[in-house]
Protein backbone atom coordinates (compact mmCIF):
# COMPACT_ATOMS: atom_id res chain seq x y z
CA UNK A 1 0.00 0.00 0.00
CA UNK A 2 2.89 2.35 0.75
CA UNK A 3 4.19 1.77 -2.75
CA UNK A 4 0.74 2.46 -4.15
CA UNK A 5 0.70 5.94 -2.64
CA UNK A 6 4.34 6.86 -3.14
CA UNK A 7 4.64 5.35 -6.60
CA UNK A 8 1.06 5.46 -7.72
CA UNK A 9 -0.24 3.09 -10.32
CA UNK A 10 -3.64 3.61 -11.80
CA UNK A 11 -5.73 1.90 -14.38
CA UNK A 12 -7.62 4.29 -16.64
CA UNK A 13 -10.55 2.95 -18.60
CA UNK A 14 -12.89 4.63 -21.06
CA UNK A 15 -16.36 3.28 -20.37
CA UNK A 16 -18.53 2.88 -23.46
CA UNK A 17 -21.29 0.58 -22.22
CA UNK A 18 -24.50 2.46 -23.17
CA UNK A 19 -26.29 1.72 -19.90
CA UNK A 20 -23.32 2.83 -17.80
CA UNK A 21 -22.88 5.96 -19.91
CA UNK A 22 -26.58 6.85 -19.62
CA UNK A 23 -26.55 6.42 -15.84
CA UNK A 24 -23.41 8.53 -15.55
CA UNK A 25 -24.74 11.29 -17.80
CA UNK A 26 -28.00 11.54 -15.88
CA UNK A 27 -26.23 11.81 -12.54
CA UNK A 28 -23.65 14.29 -13.83
CA UNK A 29 -26.37 16.51 -15.28
CA UNK A 30 -27.93 16.81 -11.83
CA UNK A 31 -24.50 17.36 -10.27
CA UNK A 32 -23.67 20.13 -12.75
CA UNK A 33 -27.02 21.77 -12.05
CA UNK A 34 -26.36 21.79 -8.32
CA UNK A 35 -22.78 23.01 -8.78
CA UNK A 36 -23.95 25.85 -11.00
CA UNK A 37 -26.65 26.71 -8.50
CA UNK A 38 -24.06 27.08 -5.75
CA UNK A 39 -21.96 29.40 -7.92
CA UNK A 40 -24.94 31.70 -8.26
CA UNK A 41 -25.96 31.65 -4.61
CA UNK A 42 -22.77 31.97 -2.55
CA UNK A 43 -23.73 35.49 -1.51
CA UNK A 44 -26.94 34.23 0.08
CA UNK A 45 -25.04 31.60 2.09
CA UNK A 46 -22.27 33.82 3.39
CA UNK A 47 -21.14 34.61 5.98
CA UNK A 48 -23.32 32.13 7.88
CA UNK A 49 -21.80 29.19 5.96
CA UNK A 50 -18.26 29.91 7.15
CA UNK A 51 -16.92 27.05 9.24
CA UNK A 52 -19.88 24.83 8.35
CA UNK A 53 -20.62 22.12 5.81
CA UNK A 54 -22.75 23.17 2.89
CA UNK A 55 -24.90 20.51 1.29
CA UNK A 56 -26.42 21.20 -2.12
CA UNK A 57 -29.24 19.14 -3.64
CA UNK A 58 -32.32 19.95 -5.64
CA UNK A 59 -31.01 23.47 -6.24
CA UNK A 60 -31.18 24.13 -2.52
CA UNK A 61 -28.53 24.46 0.15
CA UNK A 62 -28.40 23.31 3.74
CA UNK A 63 -25.80 24.30 6.31
CA UNK A 64 -24.72 21.62 8.76
CA UNK A 65 -22.31 21.32 11.64
CA UNK A 66 -21.02 17.92 10.53
CA UNK A 67 -20.60 16.06 7.23
CA UNK A 68 -22.93 13.32 8.44
CA UNK A 69 -25.68 15.84 9.10
CA UNK A 70 -25.14 17.38 5.68
CA UNK A 71 -25.28 14.06 3.81
CA UNK A 72 -28.35 13.01 5.77
CA UNK A 73 -30.14 16.18 4.65
CA UNK A 74 -29.41 15.43 0.98
CA UNK A 75 -30.99 11.98 1.33
CA UNK A 76 -34.05 13.05 3.29
CA UNK A 77 -34.81 16.37 1.58
CA UNK A 78 -33.96 15.32 -1.98
CA UNK A 79 -33.86 11.52 -2.18
CA UNK A 80 -34.21 11.51 -5.96
CA UNK A 81 -31.31 13.89 -6.61
CA UNK A 82 -28.26 11.97 -7.82
CA UNK A 83 -26.17 15.14 -7.97
CA UNK A 84 -25.95 16.12 -4.32
CA UNK A 85 -22.63 17.15 -2.85
CA UNK A 86 -21.18 18.36 0.45
CA UNK A 87 -18.23 20.66 1.04
CA UNK A 88 -16.66 22.32 4.03
CA UNK A 89 -16.58 26.12 3.91
CA UNK A 90 -13.33 27.38 5.31
CA UNK A 91 -13.69 30.37 7.65
CA UNK A 92 -10.26 31.82 6.95
CA UNK A 93 -9.77 34.53 4.35
CA UNK A 94 -6.81 35.26 2.10
CA UNK A 95 -4.77 33.35 -0.48
CA UNK A 96 -4.35 29.65 0.08
CA UNK A 97 -2.05 26.89 -0.98
CA UNK A 98 -3.43 23.41 -1.24
CA UNK A 99 -1.92 20.16 -0.08
CA UNK A 100 1.14 18.23 -1.09
CA UNK A 101 3.12 15.31 0.21
CA UNK A 102 6.38 15.22 2.04
Amino acid sequence: MEQAIQQPQFTIEEVTDPAAVARFQAAMAQFERNSNWLQAHWEELLPQALGKFVAVAGAQAFLAETPAEAWTWTKTAHPQDQGAFVEYVRPEKGPRWYGNRR
Partner: protein, 146 residues
Protein backbone atom coordinates in the same frame (compact mmCIF):
# COMPACT_ATOMS: atom_id res chain seq x y z
CA UNK B 1 -9.87 11.37 -24.44
CA UNK B 2 -10.80 14.91 -23.47
CA UNK B 3 -11.98 15.78 -19.96
CA UNK B 4 -13.31 19.28 -19.43
CA UNK B 5 -13.50 21.09 -16.14
CA UNK B 6 -14.54 24.62 -15.28
CA UNK B 7 -13.27 27.73 -13.58
CA UNK B 8 -15.60 28.00 -10.59
CA UNK B 9 -15.93 30.66 -7.97
CA UNK B 10 -15.39 29.38 -4.46
CA UNK B 11 -16.76 30.60 -1.13
CA UNK B 12 -13.81 32.95 -0.62
CA UNK B 13 -14.49 34.68 -3.95
CA UNK B 14 -11.50 33.11 -5.68
CA UNK B 15 -12.03 31.35 -9.01
CA UNK B 16 -10.28 28.00 -9.26
CA UNK B 17 -9.98 25.18 -11.84
CA UNK B 18 -12.38 22.43 -10.83
CA UNK B 19 -13.53 19.21 -12.42
CA UNK B 20 -16.69 17.38 -11.44
CA UNK B 21 -16.49 13.65 -10.86
CA UNK B 22 -18.19 10.71 -9.30
CA UNK B 23 -16.30 8.57 -6.81
CA UNK B 24 -17.43 5.03 -6.13
CA UNK B 25 -18.05 4.17 -2.52
CA UNK B 26 -19.05 0.96 -0.78
CA UNK B 27 -21.12 -1.27 -3.04
CA UNK B 28 -20.28 0.91 -6.04
CA UNK B 29 -22.50 3.72 -4.77
CA UNK B 30 -21.40 6.96 -6.49
CA UNK B 31 -20.67 10.14 -4.57
CA UNK B 32 -20.43 13.49 -6.35
CA UNK B 33 -17.13 15.27 -5.80
CA UNK B 34 -15.75 18.60 -7.01
CA UNK B 35 -11.98 18.27 -7.43
CA UNK B 36 -9.57 21.15 -7.46
CA UNK B 37 -7.07 20.56 -10.27
CA UNK B 38 -3.75 21.16 -8.52
CA UNK B 39 -0.60 20.44 -10.48
CA UNK B 40 1.39 21.53 -7.42
CA UNK B 41 -0.03 18.75 -5.27
CA UNK B 42 1.97 15.54 -5.36
CA UNK B 43 -0.98 13.34 -4.56
CA UNK B 44 -4.71 13.20 -5.06
CA UNK B 45 -6.57 13.48 -1.77
CA UNK B 46 -10.21 13.41 -0.77
CA UNK B 47 -11.73 15.80 1.70
CA UNK B 48 -13.01 14.46 5.01
CA UNK B 49 -16.57 15.31 3.97
CA UNK B 50 -16.26 13.01 0.96
CA UNK B 51 -14.58 10.26 2.98
CA UNK B 52 -17.54 10.33 5.35
CA UNK B 53 -19.94 9.43 2.55
CA UNK B 54 -17.88 6.76 0.79
CA UNK B 55 -18.06 4.20 3.62
CA UNK B 56 -15.01 2.39 2.26
CA UNK B 57 -12.47 0.32 4.14
CA UNK B 58 -9.79 2.64 5.46
CA UNK B 59 -6.16 1.60 5.62
CA UNK B 60 -3.65 3.38 7.86
CA UNK B 61 -1.17 5.69 6.16
CA UNK B 62 2.25 4.26 5.29
CA UNK B 63 4.80 4.78 8.07
CA UNK B 64 6.71 8.03 7.78
CA UNK B 65 4.39 9.52 5.19
CA UNK B 66 2.64 12.81 5.97
CA UNK B 67 0.13 14.86 4.03
CA UNK B 68 0.04 18.58 4.39
CA UNK B 69 -3.21 20.42 3.82
CA UNK B 70 -4.03 24.09 4.00
CA UNK B 71 -3.88 23.99 7.77
CA UNK B 72 -0.58 22.08 7.94
CA UNK B 73 0.09 18.38 8.49
CA UNK B 74 -3.16 16.47 8.68
CA UNK B 75 -4.12 12.93 9.51
CA UNK B 76 -5.23 10.77 6.64
CA UNK B 77 -6.14 7.26 5.61
CA UNK B 78 -5.76 5.32 2.39
CA UNK B 79 -8.71 4.04 0.39
CA UNK B 80 -9.06 2.10 -2.82
CA UNK B 81 -11.70 3.46 -5.13
CA UNK B 82 -12.63 4.59 -8.63
CA UNK B 83 -12.84 8.20 -9.79
CA UNK B 84 -15.15 8.73 -12.76
CA UNK B 85 -14.41 11.84 -14.81
CA UNK B 86 -16.71 12.98 -17.60
CA UNK B 87 -15.28 12.74 -21.11
CA UNK B 88 -16.34 15.23 -23.73
CA UNK B 89 -18.37 12.51 -25.44
CA UNK B 90 -20.39 12.12 -22.25
CA UNK B 91 -19.07 8.80 -21.00
CA UNK B 92 -16.96 8.31 -17.91
CA UNK B 93 -13.21 7.80 -17.72
CA UNK B 94 -12.62 5.49 -14.77
CA UNK B 95 -9.42 5.91 -12.76
CA UNK B 96 -8.92 3.06 -10.35
CA UNK B 97 -6.28 3.11 -7.65
CA UNK B 98 -5.28 3.87 -4.06
CA UNK B 99 -5.85 7.39 -2.81
CA UNK B 100 -5.37 9.38 0.36
CA UNK B 101 -8.28 10.91 2.24
CA UNK B 102 -8.04 13.49 4.99
CA UNK B 103 -9.80 12.65 8.24
CA UNK B 104 -9.76 16.24 9.49
CA UNK B 105 -12.43 18.46 7.97
CA UNK B 106 -10.25 21.54 8.33
CA UNK B 107 -7.50 20.05 6.16
CA UNK B 108 -9.15 21.10 2.92
CA UNK B 109 -12.51 22.25 1.65
CA UNK B 110 -12.14 20.77 -1.81
CA UNK B 111 -10.87 17.35 -2.75
CA UNK B 112 -7.68 17.70 -4.77
CA UNK B 113 -6.74 16.02 -8.05
CA UNK B 114 -2.95 15.94 -7.85
CA UNK B 115 -0.08 14.98 -10.07
CA UNK B 116 -0.32 11.27 -9.38
CA UNK B 117 -3.43 11.34 -11.57
CA UNK B 118 -2.67 14.44 -13.64
CA UNK B 119 0.66 13.02 -14.84
CA UNK B 120 -1.39 10.71 -17.04
CA UNK B 121 -2.82 13.69 -18.93
CA UNK B 122 -1.83 16.82 -20.78
CA UNK B 123 -3.37 19.47 -18.57
CA UNK B 124 -4.41 22.89 -19.89
CA UNK B 125 -5.49 25.59 -17.45
CA UNK B 126 -6.29 28.79 -19.32
CA UNK B 127 -8.01 31.51 -17.36
CA UNK B 128 -8.06 33.95 -20.34
CA UNK B 129 -9.79 31.35 -22.48
CA UNK B 130 -11.85 29.99 -19.60
CA UNK B 131 -10.62 26.46 -20.30
CA UNK B 132 -9.81 23.55 -18.00
CA UNK B 133 -8.83 20.51 -20.06
CA UNK B 134 -7.15 17.16 -19.51
CA UNK B 135 -6.11 15.28 -22.64
CA UNK B 136 -4.97 11.69 -23.09
CA UNK B 137 -4.98 8.90 -25.64
CA UNK B 138 -5.55 10.13 -29.17
CA UNK B 139 -5.98 13.78 -28.19
CA UNK B 140 -3.16 16.28 -27.89
CA UNK B 141 -2.61 20.02 -27.97
CA UNK B 142 -0.79 22.28 -30.41
CA UNK B 143 0.68 25.74 -29.86
CA UNK B 144 0.17 28.20 -32.70
CA UNK B 145 1.33 31.73 -33.31
CA UNK B 146 -1.66 33.96 -34.07
Amino acid sequence: MVIAGEWLRCADGQTRPIVLAQVLGAGGQPTDVRFLIDSGADATVFSAAVLEELHLSELPPPPGLALRGISGDSSFVVIETVIELKRNDGGPARIRGSFAAFTDSAATDLSVLGRDVLDNFDVILSRPRNEVLALAGNHRYAIQAV
